[in-house]
Symmetry: C2
Amino acid sequence: AETTRIAVTPGDGVGPEVVEEALRCLEVLRTKHNLALEWTRFPWPSHTWHQKHGESMPDDALDQLRHYDAILLGALGDPGPLDDPDRYLLSDSVSLAPLLEMRKGFDQWVCERPARLLPGARQYLADERAKDIDMLVIRENSEGEYVSQGGRLRKGTEDEVATQMEVFTRRATDRIIRYGFEQARARAAERVKEGRTRSFRSLDGNRDTQAFESQVCLVTKRNALRYWGDMYTEAFEEIRKEYADVAIHHELVDAACMKFVQNPWAFDVVVASNLQGDILTDLAAVLSGGMGVAPSCNLNPSDTGMPSMFEPTHGSAPDIAGQGLADPTAMLFTTARMLQWLGRKDPVMAAAGKELFSTVAADLKENAGKQRRTREIGEAICQQIAG
Amino acid sequence: AETTRIAVTPGDGVGPEVVEEALRCLEVLRTKHNLALEWTRFPWPSHTWHQKHGESMPDDALDQLRHYDAILLGALGDPGPLDDPDRYLLSDSVSLAPLLEMRKGFDQWVCERPARLLPGARQYLADERAKDIDMLVIRENSEGEYVSQGGRLRKGTEDEVATQMEVFTRRATDRIIRYGFEQARARAAERVKEGRTRSFRSLDGNRDTQAFESQVCLVTKRNALRYWGDMYTEAFEEIRKEYADVAIHHELVDAACMKFVQNPWAFDVVVASNLQGDILTDLAAVLSGGMGVAPSCNLNPSDTGMPSMFEPTHGSAPDIAGQGLADPTAMLFTTARMLQWLGRKDPVMAAAGKELFSTVAADLKENAGKQRRTREIGEAICQQIAG
Ligand SMILES: CC(C)[C@H](C(=O)O)[C@@H](O)C(=O)O
Ligand SMILES: CC(C)[C@H](C(=O)O)[C@@H](O)C(=O)O
């Protein structure tokens, strides 16, 4: 088999520390399963690089990364010295830009954050049914609110007008909706394999007579943002005809956020626009236990050979950086997702991903609430895998 | 004193039922305190009106309402017959339009939803500190993402491009931010009166040395929606100088939603754009116990004589309409907020609002979890007030 090559970008703050544990685990898995896997570390994008070169990554960064099979990213963002009163204004706009550049450059048009509340993960909701949360939020990751078009007229005056354009194409809409339905089917099949079932009702004519094994909920704000809201709805109505086995549902984004808190266990697959998906994926991350465990996957599922990018949802936590205190759990879950993704056509790789996932999940359950150092957690997982 | 006139628009579904209880309570308060208060009912906007006249309200609706001091709205939205497979597609876009028309027509540029978890209200979060939730989300209600500009190019084809323009003016930005700071001050003063205190740290240079009694958190998505994100941030940085007594904070909308679930008790006043505020106010409503208790206030605080509009957050719940089952609690809290608003310069009116609020709050605490009919709850409140 061809060698799978990973570009590792540890980034800022606690990024390098948690990435180190991920690589240790990868090494153990590689040896154990004889995986054709190799990786290269890059010192950018990062704050350190920015300080030296005046930019977060080199001009040809995307070209350097293009031929890797995946990018594994630690964390980005360094707001500068603690006593700088303006640090909170700088933090995100400067140092996080490379994230968006990579998503666009590699057409990572799907952002996925699965939300399943694992035993041992923090449970924020009071209702016991939170244990049944098992949803996948699929965010359109290539256009929409994030096209960066617009400007500021009469900038800085009291007559200023700032505009921001949202641009949605039917093509990108179709592909993300279709991707959502495919995932719904795949999840249902996976559940059947695991001997689990779920039951959904559909909002269309079948809603009272038929039970479905999976569901796709389309989120928009079509009562206020009509143009793309209508286009999304029409595309959804068209595509769902190809998936008569999948229940459908519609929510407005404000109601969806409410219901994520009120009864998240009723959702299966959720499809949303770039900004609304950003919000919903973050909410989904909290529902599955928060920053400490949530992976974020920026995928290019098209057959273009361009790399997908995997990062934990958490930030760079500069206040505890370099002290060996950061919890690598989210990073390890992220690495497991990456292997599963890379293993789409390679069962051994996929199995290694599942193994890493189960090992981290078991460790989380066993050690819930314990204070452990970065190394300690990484070491425990490595030993488990090594057997 | 001049008579205060209220336009009552019961609307659809359970709207008329819950409004009836609100009016009963108003009548008791009016008599008891000799309030110079009168009201007029309007059969529109509503689905019934739409069915008869092909539009949700008459052409001159806004002119008819313009000279009232407030609008008290029950609920809007009727998705049509239960067996119509397309009902879920119609529900919101058609029947909720009048809401937006009134907000625009009467320049109700603030939308407020206070979130305080009252005893007896449903608590969705597991953490006991949820009891300390006490925030006010202030939503810019006049422009931004809701300007309805844009269109659909090559509509219905696979090459379609849908655009949606967001337009923000510095003037509207300044006024909403200033309003936020004023509310923060007023809330701190109110707390002092009630013998409560809170302590906030500020993100600027003072953050480690000084404790503040109130805080304003500005929410944007300035790392992705830069044009207005920057303008909002600059306006905020400018205006906060006038409020050295108020702590400041910044959040990105995705992080804000997370933190609303993780530690909402850390927020005081939150200022956000129209769409992001829509989402955050809905989340705030859940945090304060959900649809059953949450009021929504669309305010025009300028001295223009145009009416503000008050509505419960809940929908029209057509499935239980007409059966006397709807809980009027949210509607009664909404009515209390209206009286307090109308009483800005009339202490007796304001006191009546507070009285209604406390009575409903006490009833909620006492009867938490009980199944009661609409009339029963309204009757209990009326009797309490009558004394
Ligand atoms: C850093 C930021 C631009 C990014 C986004 O908004 O997409 C982040 O919030 C995320 O979800 O990965
Ligand atoms: C009905 C809808 C247009 C409205 C909004 O988005 O503002 C509603 O969600 C609200 O919050 O009052």
